[in-house]
Structures are given as C-alpha cells and as structure tokens.
Symmetry: C2
DNA sequence: CCTACATTCTATAGCGACTAGAGGAGCAAG
DNA sequence: CTTGCTCCTCTAGTCGCTATAGAATGTAGG
C-alpha cells in the first residue's frame, strides 16, 4: 500500500480532511494518485506541502500569497525577492493590526472601568460605543 | 423633507450604503420611513445607531454581540451587567489576539532577517514555512 | 423644459476560506 | 456477517459584507 490516505495526511499535518480536499479543488495541492476504489493516496512530499500551507495560514498569509510562495518553493533556483516582499507585506499588516488592537484594548478597559454596574442609561459601555467623541483615544 | 437619505447616513456614519441596507435586512437597524417614491428616510437617532454599530464592529464585536448591546440600549431600564460581560469577553479576546500577533511578528521578522536576497533555495522565508521545527517560537 | 448625471431602489450572486450534511461505498476487526 | 470507521462526491451553509444588473427617481446645468 503505497502512500498515505487522506486521513493520515490530516493527522500528520493538522489540517482537516475536507480542507485538504478543498486545497486540491482550488489547485493549491496537486491531485494525488488514486487507489482501485478511487481513494486518494498521498506521498510524503504532499504531507510537507500541506504542512507548509497550514503553517503559512497560521501566520495569516492569504491563499493567493501561499500559492505564490509554493510556486517559488517548486523552483528553488528563482531569486527570493518575491518571497521577501510577501513576508514584508505580511509583517506590515501584522504591525498595523497590533497597533489597532492595542488602541482597542485601552478603550475596552476604559469602558469596563466606567461601567457603574447600574443601569444602561449610565453605562459607558453603551455610551462610548454610541458616541465616538467619548473615546479614550479619538484617532481610530 | 424630513430626515436623511441613505447616502447621507452613509457619509455621516462612515458605513457604506449597501452595508446599511444589509444591517436593516438582518434586523440590526429598524426599517425607516419611506418617501412617496419609496426611498428610505432616516432620523438622527438612526445615524447614531449606525455609528454605534460601526464603532462596535471596529472594536471587533460580532454582529450577534452588537445585537445584544443594541437591545440593551433600546431598553435602558435593564442592568448593564450583560453589556459589561460582553465587553469583558471582548477584552479577553483582544488580549489573546495581541499576544498571538506579537509572537507572529517575531517569527516574520526572523524570517525576513534570514533572507539572504539570493535564491529561494537558501531563503529562510520559504524554509521556515516548510519546516515548523525551524520556527523562532514553536508553540503555535 | 430638457438633458445628463447622481442617487436610490430591488434582487441576486459573489467573495474568502472553509465547514457541515446527505447519501453511498469500501475496509478491517470481532 | 455485522458493526463502525473511513472514504467518496456533491451541494449548501457560514459570516459580513461587496458587487452587479436593471429600473426609477432626484438634482443641477444649459
């Protein structure tokens, strides 16, 4: 029995079975060999590829970015400027999100501190959300 | 002409016209009065409500959480313990997201620093993605 | 008043990245 | 031989919008 069944790939890569089939459907993963009874049989390289995709997804790369990274991986003689650019764009995005979340955190804390545990009429959770002007920080 | 047209609400709230109609469709926004020619006419309170929704969305609240907050606002006799609980849950979520993004940022920076600007074969961006063991942090 | 353009209306379909379910076939163990 | 797991395909649903089509209405300039 050559290769791994889809469930084995799922276990080893941490990607769910339907997601693996989905990746095949959108062309991120090559269609593997099939058994007599039409079951997918994967090679070790496929497991590495799925793991690559999973890791990249965890890092927040979009499918199209991963597609580009995978074509780069398939041809290691290419210069890595593109990979570098994709990673840098992702870093910028992550830093932007961290800044925005940090501002958000301050505001939520202010809201919670301001909540008098009385009624909604005096509750700043509602107030702050209803009126942007009452924000702790006003720039977002 | 009483009230604001949908475009005016969009400009004042910063929420796009189709999105406002969508909010009405899912029952987040009450169906406003209509003109002779079937156009929506909003009151100032509606603009505040749309701003509330926008602000809450920016803070990362899900639609269902916003729906809860809005029902609280619609009935100010209620205690705000529920709103407080929602805000606290959101704060925990935000803090979790910040931690995860910070780890991610470290990893991306390491990847980019390791890029020799040569070929893909020696590029750490690809390498790190291909082999989880080479991560700066291994916990994710 | 006429024309041109902007805005609005409804209804439907699409996006990303999956996830869930139906309905059926195969396979391995007791 | 039956039980229960895995696998197959296909379709539809999720969330929070966004885009498009085609029609009607509103507004401003000439």
């Amino acid at each position: 029995m050559p290769g791994y069944p889809i469930g084995g790939v799922a276990r080893q890569s941490g990607v769910k079975v339907p997601t693996i089939r989905y990746y095949e459907q959108i062309g991120l993963l090559p269609a593997p060999a099939r058994s007599e009874s039409n079951r997918r049989h994967y090679a070790a390289a496929d497991i590495r590829r799925v793991s690559f995709i999973r890791h990249a997804r965890e890092l927040g790369f979009e499918i199209e970015a991963i597609r580009t990274l995978l074509t780069l991986q398939d041809d290691p003689a290419q210069p890595c400027a593109t990979a570098d650019r994709i990673a840098r764009a992702r870093l910028a995005e992550v830093e932007r999100r961290i800044r925005s979340l940090a501002a958000l955190k301050v505001e939520l804390k202010t809201m919670i501190k301001g909540c008098s545990h009385g009624h909604v009429a005096e509750c700043r959770v509602i107030e702050v959300l209803a009126d942007h002007g009452k924000c702790a920080r006003s720039h977002h």
